[in-house]
Symmetry: C3
Subunit: 255 residues, 3 copies
């Protein structure tokens, strides 16, 4: 826990600039979550400026929700700019199994950008790996040994970290794996909690000295705890979202 607090304190000290290529559904929640956490969001997706912004940001987060070809091109451009400068790049392959366009786009992104971490759910992981998976199976599959195997294989193939959200989160570099329990079902009743998590992981990687499984695990643990705190105060999904932003902003006990 001490380490967890150290990294959060470092993040808040640094106030990292997080460049997000986001979407019309979650951009506001993502920006507010990053501000609450102690990071500084900048949303920009025009080809004319993404490389310049990615170059000065402390992390770049590419979110594939409401994707279109123009944004995909901007993501590749921003991703390359970031990795040239060893700035962490997080990819959130939102609903990547839903359409042929998204499946092709994620493969193109992974081929052209040297990704630091992929943050997804089990269904999205299966789509990236090309594994057959029914939507129902995805929800039920949390904690299954197969998810860990697939995550490890994808991590090794793309030489990156994999953070798979679920009832129990998994984070792995292909060799070492952490399991993070906790959180609350209300987190799945607010749109963008996954997208915001990807940005939060980006902020923790920005604050960490290296792109380690531990740093990602610290972010996931912090996020699940914030969800628990908010759920304890919430009547429903409406006020949960409000309490959750407060929880991301809370001081951690230093002991």
């Amino acid at each position: 826990m001490k380490k967890n607090n150290h990294l959060l304190a470092a993040l808040r000290q640094q106030n990292p600039l997080i460049h997000c290529i986001s979407n019309i559904v979650v951009a506001n929640f993502q920006a507010n979550g990053l501000l609450a956490l102690g990071a500084s969001p900048i949303m920009a997706d025009a080809m004319e400026e993404v490389a310049e912004i990615a170059a000065v940001a402390d992390a770049t987060v590419l979110n594939m929700g409401t994707l279109n070809p123009t944004t995909l091109e901007a993501m590749i451009h921003a991703g390359k700019s970031a990795t040239e400068r060893n700035i962490p790049v997080v990819i959130d392959p939102v609903g990547v199994g839903a359409t042929t366009f998204r499946k092709q786009s994620i493969q193109q992104l992974l081929q052209e950008v040297d990704v630091t971490l992929i943050r997804c759910n089990a269904g999205e992981l299966a789509a990236i790996a090309g594994v057959d998976w029914t939507a129902k199976g995805v929800d039920a599959g949390v904690g299954d040994a197969d998810i860990e195997s697939i995550a490890k294989a994808v991590a090794k193939k793309h030489n990156c970290l994999l953070a798979v959200s679920g009832e129990i989160d998994i984070v792995t570099d292909g060799y070492q794996t952490f399991y993070i329990e906790g959180g609350h079902p209300l987190m799945t009743k607010v749109t963008g909690t996954g997208c915001l998590l990807s940005s939060v992981v980006g902020a923790f990687l920005a604050a960490a000295e290296e792109n380690s499984v531990e740093a990602a695990a610290t972010a996931l643990t912090f996020y699940k705890k914030a969800g628990e705190k908010a759920a304890a105060l919430a009547v429903g999904p409406g006020d949960f979202a409000v309490h959750f932003l407060n929880a991301l902003n809370e001081e951690e006990p230093t002991h």
Copy 2:
């Protein structure tokens, strides 16, 4: 009321996938409202994937706020894909009387897509019907016999359902008409309550066995009641929106 509960229970059992072509103002509220209700939102507007998504969704909702020619083309594409498979298509002609572009766009949409239901307010209805109407008259005209006549005529002309929001909602198939009282003025002080309603109606149609006036009326009644519950707890428009999402998520009494 029993019927109302049956349909809501069926909706939550089914957890229908609602494909929304939305806009930058309301996409977040729309997605959160659908999640709270018990539906599953998917926002997608790229030509590369809208037909594929509309084909697997349980309803498609086309929202004309912040419209542009690219989105209009995507709406037509998605709408055709849905109607080919007998999937309900709801159109929300946001501010359709405001500009020539919007007036032309709604006519093109109605000509090319076999729409299931149009959800609008009195002013938007007048614009669709080509009736002269002053903005002031629109607000005052709620409950007026003319609105019912115009709604019936538009429903017959386009062979669809018409749901006209106001102090008293009207829903008609051109022959049978329901009036729904209730709701609260705070509903007009939060952006996107109309847009979200269109999605909610889509979710109820998805859960119903047929695209009936009754199913639409059930959705409108449920929505007005959620507004009343939220208003009873709210200080102003800020917390009303929060309580409203909670109210959409509430268990209905089964009696």
Copy 3:
């Protein structure tokens, strides 16, 4: 204070239509803030309709967050349409110093559109003026005499009002300057508070008889007070945003 109340009462009486060319991050908060205030927002950015909407609106607010060349063209088009009819145009040069594209875009906007008021922070002001300024210096520079000098120079050069947000707001026409104290640090922990302020200033200018420094100062004062009221009730940034919308909606004491 009496004057303040007069203008707010006039605004709510008029219910001005505020045309916003906005962005995916803040459009929802901006629309909800304007509704809470007593204005009527309309978001539209398609070239096909911006001139028509700007022509009937009571103010046009151009926001450069997540800018792209298409939106920039629409802003120029809308801005020209508004100024031809003596409708106030407010520009919010979000993060204008961040990239070459934004720096060039603001110069093009200021050259082609007869702007009524620029609402920015100290860093954005420095970027517009071409003054060297480090990000750190920006935050620290509030209240500095240089900011006032630069604001006055920019106001004179572009023959417009300058409203510079900070711990103490400055508003000037190049000759007369008002300083507005108050507000709360939580206002900087919610995304879009600056963008919404630009729209609120637009609504106050729409309600005022002339585009005066006093009208802008009244808007800034009202906004800081709303921030104070909300902060007094808030636990963190999540519920601050909720209370802030409520505060914008509150009746002012008439005495």
